[in-house]
């Protein structure tokens, strides 16, 4: 049947006379914008759930604008009442999708099955009763609408769903906002402004327009036309989130494309803007879009430049790192091979020197024995150096093995001190051992390596102390479950610069050569690495050059 309120039939379905000037301005740009953003975001990352939901909202919104245009422009009762009957299901879908969208946006994951079931149950009545008299029962040919034949329960229900969505999304956003980081707060705020503007404008204007037209307070429901502008705000906020925060994982080029398309779309509105109102509104929109677009594009360009520079630097760094790793590996391999090849002949030299000194091959003259003792001493020092090189090589290649067991550290430290005492006395030094323990002093570590560390440090003290004494103190802290060995000497000491670098590879004290010309500068490095690998450490302390040093070995107590 044909309405007789509007006399002229529409052409091309939509374009009819006697309709509000605002109609096309409110519907077409908002729909194209929603579809443009929805499709762009989806195409850029189709597997992302958030992008899928955004596209679904855009499609549902577009469907509503199309059926709304039909109800405004058609004069065919069947087309209008059929379109009218779909407002309920579509508004229900938009409400539920908006809540779903905010859930996924905030939590970065899908909602539970329980919530999905609640969503489905909320939607169910809108689907079940869409074609029944509870929704629509008739049509007014004079007014060309169905306001008088809308079922109150059904229309209140789907309008209520809209208000439920406003409340639900507001609560979700507010709750997340409380505990969010500064960056996330900005994103939540932008999304909140976008979604709430859309839902509030859309559902309030639709419900109010519908109600006022039903009670015949106004001639028609043209108030609902303002509801469509909310989608524009929502999409602009989505655009800002894409460009500023890359929320939807949309690439930079896509962001620029969206902005350019937005400008073209706004300019194209001039082609169908016939009235002064439309031209003014289009100009305001164009100005607004251009300003926002300019700001966003500038931000995009800056970000692209920064990203390119960063990617270039990262590539260079990765390349340099690879090269360094390769060189380090080669160096370790070289040291390992060279050390092994040096160690074998050295063992033979030391062995034969010892046999000669012991008189296995007959009695030697005193001068020859002295020379052999020097050979033996030098080869022993060389063997220590080679062991240091090998240890560094093992540590750096991760091949250093530790055999853990429980042992008494106090006993081991005392044994080492006793062994080295004769050497200290030979140099005119006193070597004192003391304890201050509240526990039994048992540790869980590699006994061989622990002894090696203690030996290394006491040896160092003997080497670098021209006169005075060396004190070895074993103490513990049962509360912190740590045990300490302090090796304190009255030797050459260290200045601040030396202290800062003493544990580095090939580092020796600046004044070390004045006392001892030997030494690789690897002993402390190896000792520290071993102690740290066993859960402990080594620290050094000195008041300055000539004021003695104190080295502290720290290990965890075995419980």
């Amino acid at each position: 049947m044909i309405c007789y309120y509007y006399y002229d039939a529409p052409t091309y379905l939509f374009f009819a006379p006697d309709i509000p000037e605002l109609l096309y301005y409110s519907h077409i740009p908002a729909t194209i914008l929603a579809l443009l953003v929805g499709i762009f975001v989806f195409v850029n990352n189709p597997r992302n759930l958030l992008n899928k939901i955004l596209l679904s909202i855009a499609l549902s919104f577009s469907a509503i604008t199309v059926i709304n245009l039909v109800t405004w422009t058609s004069i065919e009762s069947s087309a209008i009442i059929f379109s009218w009957s779909l407002f309920g299901p579509l508004q229900g879908i938009i409400s539920v999708l908006s809540i779903y969208f905010i859930y996924v946006f905030l939590n970065k994951e899908d909602v539970s099955l329980k919530i999905k079931t609640v969503f489905s149950l909320l939607l169910l009545p809108t689907f079940l009763f869409a074609a029944t008299n509870l929704n629509l029962s008739g049509f007014d040919l004079a007014w060309c609408d169905s306001f008088q034949y809308e079922g109150d329960f059904y229309s209140n229900y789907y309008n209520g769903l809209g208000f439920l969505a406003i409340l639900w999304t507001s609560i979700l956003l507010a709750r997340k906002y409380k505990g969010a980081t500064r960056e996330l707060k900005k994103q939540i705020l932008l999304m909140g402004v976008g979604i709430e503007s859309f839902l509030l404008l859309f559902f309030t204007n639709f419900a109010l327009g519908d109600y006022l037209a039903t009670i015949k307070f106004v001639e028609d429901s043209r108030l609902e036309l303002y509801g469509f502008f909310g989608m524009g705000i929502f999409m602009v906020m989505i655009g800002v989130l894409i460009v500023r925060f890359r929320t939807f994982n949309v690439g930079m080029i896509a962001s620029q494309a969206i902005l350019i398309a937005l400008l073209i779309l706004t300019i194209s509105q001039y082609t169908f803007a016939e009235s002064i109102t439309s031209i003014v509104l289009t100009s305001i929109t164009l100005l607004f879009t251009a300003i926002i677009g300019f700001i966003l594009l500038r931000s995009v360009r800056k970000e692209i430049k920064q990203r390119t520079e960063l990617e270039h630097l990262t590539q260079k760094l990765a390349h340099a790192n690879e090269k360094l790793k390769e060189l380090d590996k080669l160096k370790s391999e070289f040291v390992s091979i060279a050390s092994h090849q040096l160690r074998s002949p050295l063992t033979a030299i030391r062995g034969y020197a010892s046999l000669l000194t012991d008189g296995t091959y007959g009695k030697l003259p005193a001068k020859a024995t002295e020379a052999l003792e020097r050979i033996s001493e030098s080869s022993k020092n060389m063997a220590y150096s080679i062991e240091d090189y090998l240890n560094v090589s093992r540590i750096e290649s991760g091949n250093m093995k530790y055999n853990y067991s429980d042992f008494n550290l106090k006993d081991e430290a005392e044994k080492v001190t006793d062994d080295l005492r004769s050497q200290a006395i030979k140099q005119g030094l006193g070597l004192i051992f003391r304890t201050n323990l509240k526990s039994r002093g048992v540790v869980h570590a590699d006994i061989g390596k622990t002894v090696q560390i203690i030996q290394n440090l006491i040896n160092n003290s003997i080497k670098y102390t021209p006169k005075g004494s060396i004190k070895v103190l074993v103490r513990d802290d049962v509360v912190k479950k740590r045990i300490f060995i302090d090796i304190e000497d009255t030797g050459i000491g260290m200045n601040e610069k030396t202290l800062a670098s003493i544990f580095g590879k090939f580092e020796r004290a600046s004044n070390a050569n004045s006392v001892n010309t030997g030494g690789t500068g690897l002993g402390l490095f190896v000792a520290k690495m071993m102690a740290e690998a066993m859960g402990g450490g080594i620290t050094a302390h000195s008041e300055g050059d000539g004021k003695g040093s104190r080295f502290t070995i720290e290990l965890p107590l075995a419980m």
Binding site: I93, K116, A130, G138, L141, Y149
Partner: protein, 125 residues
């Protein structure tokens, strides 16, 4: 793992059911309102305020003159069969034939519609 899989499957089934229900809702609406044309249409009928209580409205934008009308409601199928798509050029549309299943002609009721909505000269108004 199996629970998560079941949840995912159940979620997909729910989505599928919702899509099916939406298609059914659109399909049944189309069938009822476009194919069967099973709904009521209302239009303005004749009314003489000298004899009946009429609804009235302005004849033109300035509202210098009024026109008076009753409201006729009938099934769209029947009126279409009788008059085609346009009721304005069809005399049969303005009276209820005896064999018609559903047809009502309503006049303005001051009690229900409000006195200001009705125009009548019967009691000298």
């Amino acid at each position: 793992m199996a629970f998560a899989m079941n949840n995912k499957l159940a979620g997909k089934i729910l989505l599928f059911l919702n899509i099916i229900l939406l298609i059914l809702a659109v399909g049944s609406s189309y069938y009822r309102f476009v194919v069967l044309e099973d709904y009521v249409v209302a239009y303005e009928g004749d009314c003489d305020p000298d004899f009946e209580s009429c609804y009235y409205d302005c004849e033109d934008d300035e509202c210098n003159e009024y026109y008076y009308f009753s409201i006729i409601e009938r099934q769209v199928k029947e009126i279409k069969a009788l008059c085609g798509k346009d009721v304005t050029e069809c005399d049969e549309a303005y009276e209820c034939q005896p064999d018609v299943e559903f047809c009502t002609i309503s006049f303005c009721d001051p009690m229900e519609d409000g006195e200001e909505a009705c125009a009548s000269n019967i009691d000298g108004l």
